[in-house]
Symmetry: C2
Subunit: 200 residues, 2 copies
């Protein structure tokens, strides 16, 4: 379990770490140095400690948190593997096993249309949630091509590029990919929202 | 400004970092691997993304944050430097300048009794605050001794040890020091409180 220590004094941090017990791990507050320090205008140690703790805790609680879910929808498989994309071939699925199972399921099928879908859910400091969706259309090849990317990328042929997502650079993939598009939407939202960096 | 990304997939994390803009920095949620993953039992990407984001955000908001204020109180100086201990000799104070100023102020004084005081303020997940105080009594020498520790340690003579805090190991200092005692009180409280690791 983590405890955030709001100190930039390495001597104090070392002492606190050595004094920790019971499984607690002392971590410096993330990005502490980028937070403008509060004025320590208390007249007692208690006042100063409390004003610093309140101030820095407000920053810690303001950090937005997001998670992403993504997968591949294949039209001729009724949208499978869909939300099961990562565990298509079982609980200990690997990319290779998933890719092979997809090829097996598509054996003999001529409709190879598929799309990658990514959804990002973002929890804002006030607890509200915003979600952002990105998709990209392609076709499933009959054998893998390329060694880049991950997931179903070696089978995912993207016509505008004339190759699979495993055959392009990460930068190139990101400009059109489901995850790149969902992430861009989130960044647009965040940059327009201008969340207050100052804690309440 | 930080965004916490709740993924343990390094490929996704890399893509998100490359998609970041506007000064946002993507960090993996601290200690993500120690948090038991939620069951992804949604039937859509949105449902799964939202349940993961809510679940991990609850953990991120649960991390207790603390700050500490500490200093030296010298009886014959009316408790100075007190809350000004770190900036005793001015805004750009160094340990050496502070120690010299203390010696100057005490020149000719025979009462050299002093105590270190540390107060830790801890902000709990529910926003409530607990504070923990530790003190240690000693005497201010007429010249510094030892190269360990920091702050006023080379001048702070601790009679039970027969030497200054700058002449003992960090471990030894911590067993009796103001900060060690305040930290031990906080750890006792936390270990007895058994904060729930499971988010609400």
């Amino acid at each position: 379990m983590i405890l955030y220590c709001a100190t930039s004094n390495p001597g104090k941090l070392r002492e606190f770490r050595e004094a920790a017990s019971g499984g607690w791990e002392i971590e410096p507050l993330p990005k502490l140095r980028e937070i403008p320090p509060p004025e320590e205008n208390g007249t007692t140690f208690e006042e100063n400690a409390i004003l610093k703790a309140r101030y820095y805790a407000a920053f810690a609680r303001e950090v937005p948190v997001y998670a992403e879910d993504s997968g591949l929808e294949v039209d001729s498989l009724g949208g499978a593997p869909g939300v099961y994309s990562a565990r298509f071939s079982g609980p200990d699925a690997t990319d290779a096993a998933n890719n092979q199972l997809l090829l097996d399921r598509l054996a003999g099928k001529t409709d190879r249309v598929a799309r990658y879908v990514a959804v990002i859910a973002l929890v804002l400091p006030d607890g509200s949630i915003r979600s952002f969706r990105g998709t990209v259309e392609g076709e499933i090849l009959r054998e893998p091509r390329g060694s880049g990317g991950f997931g179903y990328d070696p089978l995912f042929f993207y016509p505008p590029f004339g190759c699979t997502f495993a055959e392009v650079s990460r930068e190139q993939k990101l400009t059109v990919s489901h995850r790149g598009r969902a992430a861009a939407s989130m960044m647009d939202f965040l940059n327009a929202a201008r969340l207050p960096l100052d804690p309440k």
